[in-house]
């Protein structure tokens, strides 16, 4: 490229950015600023890679848990042995997620601040809690506390003990999602005539909803949103129970579902009329 020499003739006029360009051309890898930024690039790349790996695990976990939940809904049968088979399969698959998938995440986070990567796997974690709690409810009618479940997130790696960060908020939000599955369960129970179970599941969700109503956590919009969704689910379930009670003697059970689905469910706080 031509360099300007003695511009007395005025022919070689300077251009905007020329000085900048000259600087850029003189910059090489020995420039201290460049060296600094090459190291920064490495650090940022490492962080992004780690984040993406964890996101991938989280997605796999979410997909698997959705399948497990679907599987658990199929226990809505009178055949006890078939139900047991399904529950055992679910149990095995849930253990796998603990021992393989979440362990992989914990290993990726070994030596790092887990809170920095928490957003990467929070949805997988919540989905897992939803499936786990659903399974526990179907087997025993209740489910484990947070610190019990947290114990299963402790792992050993070559003599070091590592643990996966399991924030209580993810546990609580997972339980919120679980009530949605209970609502489906309740309606399905009605469909196959298990009206007793309808009352049980409705009762469980009532207690859970009371718990959510009592939480004071300013600044967490997700909690508020999920509480609202629980309210809607619960309203549907309470209507189911109401109809079983009131109409159960009038019409055959298998027709109850039709009756309920044809009634609008009022979930607005203010007005008292159906629309």
């Amino acid at each position: 490229m031509s360099r300007n020499r003695g511009g007395k003739h005025g022919r070689n006029k300077p251009t905007v950015g020329e000085k900048g360009r000259q600087v850029v051309e003189s910059i090489d890898e020995n420039n201290p600023v460049i060296k600094m930024f090459l190291a920064f690039r490495q650090e940022l790349d490492d962080k992004h890679d780690r984040f993406e790996k964890i996101v991938k695990h989280s997605r796999d976990i979410t997909i698997e848990n959705k399948r497990i939940i679907f599987l658990l809904h199929s226990t809505n049968t009178d055949v006890e042995s078939k139900k047991q088979v399904v529950l055992e399969e679910a149990n095995t698959r849930l253990k796998q997620i603990f021992e393989k998938n979440f362990r992989a995440v914990a290993l990726l986070l070994k030596g790092f601040d887990s809170y920095q990567y928490q957003k990467a796997y929070t949805s997988g974690l919540q989905e897992f809690i939803e499936a786990l709690v659903f399974y526990q409810y179907l087997t025993s009618g209740s489910f484990e506390k947070w610190d019990n479940i947290n114990k299963s997130f402790q792992y050993m790696d070559n003599g070091d003990s590592i643990s996966l960060l399991f924030p209580q908020i993810d546990y609580i939000l997972g339980i919120a999602d679980f009530t949605g599955e209970l609502m489906r369960r309740c309606i399905n129970d009605l469909g196959v005539g298990n009206t007793n179970d309808c009352f049980k599941t409705c009762n469980m969700v009532k207690h859970i909803y009371s718990g959510f109503l009592g939480i004071i956590n300013p600044g967490n919009k997700e909690l508020g949103r999920k509480t609202y969704v629980i309210k809607q689910s619960l309203a549907k379930m309470e209507l189911v129970c109401y109809n079983i009670q009131i109409r159960g003697s009038e019409i055959p059970k298998h027709m109850l579902l039709n009756v309920i689905e044809s009634t609008d469910v009022n979930t607005e706080d203010d007005e008292g009329y159906y629309h």
């Binding site: 000085k19 809170y115 209740s142 718990g211």
Partner: protein, 230 residues
């Protein structure tokens, strides 16, 4: 655990954990008030570079800024004692913005005093985030500070010329060009850092236009009109 004691076993412990978290946040907020006060004072002090050419006044401002940084260091010392272990990123939203601003100001002071780019370790030392037990200087906060510095220097270049300092813009041009070259090496994701980096080219353009104006009129020191500078 039956449905009857759900509240006791699940929601009470949860509310307790929320309450303790809120307590920690309250303590952090109080400490940040002091740090932010010093931050504002440093900003005000250093604005003098846009109002005067006087080297002594600028040195004095840097000196004042340095002593204000000492106050900031004490603030971060207090903050360090309040953060639980391994939870920097749980609470860092409270001090992220202030840290970015402080990095910018530290880099500005070093530029004014010595003319080169302050490295991350030194910046951490100036702020009081070096070798702390719970706190550290986050790389992205430091980088954000550098981007803010470029914008400030673009303005400084313009005002230097207004006050008759025709060599300062050249110094700034080289400095920001190197900064730009460095940033272009990074693989940035589509986050706030990336968006802020996108604005860097406007700072570069503004500075180059100032240099062009000087060069065109032969006002660049140590060269005639249009001659390339070594």
């Amino acid at each position: 655990m039956s449905s009857d004691n759900i509240i006791e076993h699940i929601f009470t412990p949860f509310q307790e954990s929320i309450n303790s978290e809120q307590d920690v946040r309250e303590e952090i907020r109080n400490i940040m008030k002091d740090i932010e006060k010093s931050l504002r004072e440093i900003v005000t002090t250093l604005q003098i570079i846009h109002r005067t050419l006087n080297g002594e006044e600028i040195s004095a401002a840097c000196f004042t800024a340095r002593s204000l940084f000492n106050v900031v260091q004490k603030g971060f010392e207090k903050l360090d004692s309040v953060i639980p272990e391994g939870q920097y990123y749980r609470y860092n939203d409270h001090w992220r913005y202030a840290t970015q601003r402080l990095c910018f100001l530290a880099a500005l002071v070093v530029f004014l005093e010595k003319g080169f780019l302050v490295d991350k370790v030194t910046t951490a030392q100036i702020l009081g985030l070096h070798e702390k037990s719970r706190l550290h200087l986050d790389l992205e906060d430091y980088l954000m500070g550098l981007l803010n510095l470029a914008t400030e220097l673009a303005r400084f270049a313009v005002n230097s010329v207004t006050f008759g300092d025709y060599s300062r813009p050249l110094q700034i041009s080289k400095f920001v060009a190197e900064l730009n070259a460095g940033f272009r090496l990074l693989n940035l994701k589509n986050d706030s850092l990336r968006k802020r980096f996108d604005a860097l080219k406007y700072d570069v353009k503004k500075i180059e236009e100032v240099v062009y104006d000087l060069t065109l009129r032969g006002l660049v020191p140590n060269s005639g009109g249009g001659e390339a500078v070594e």
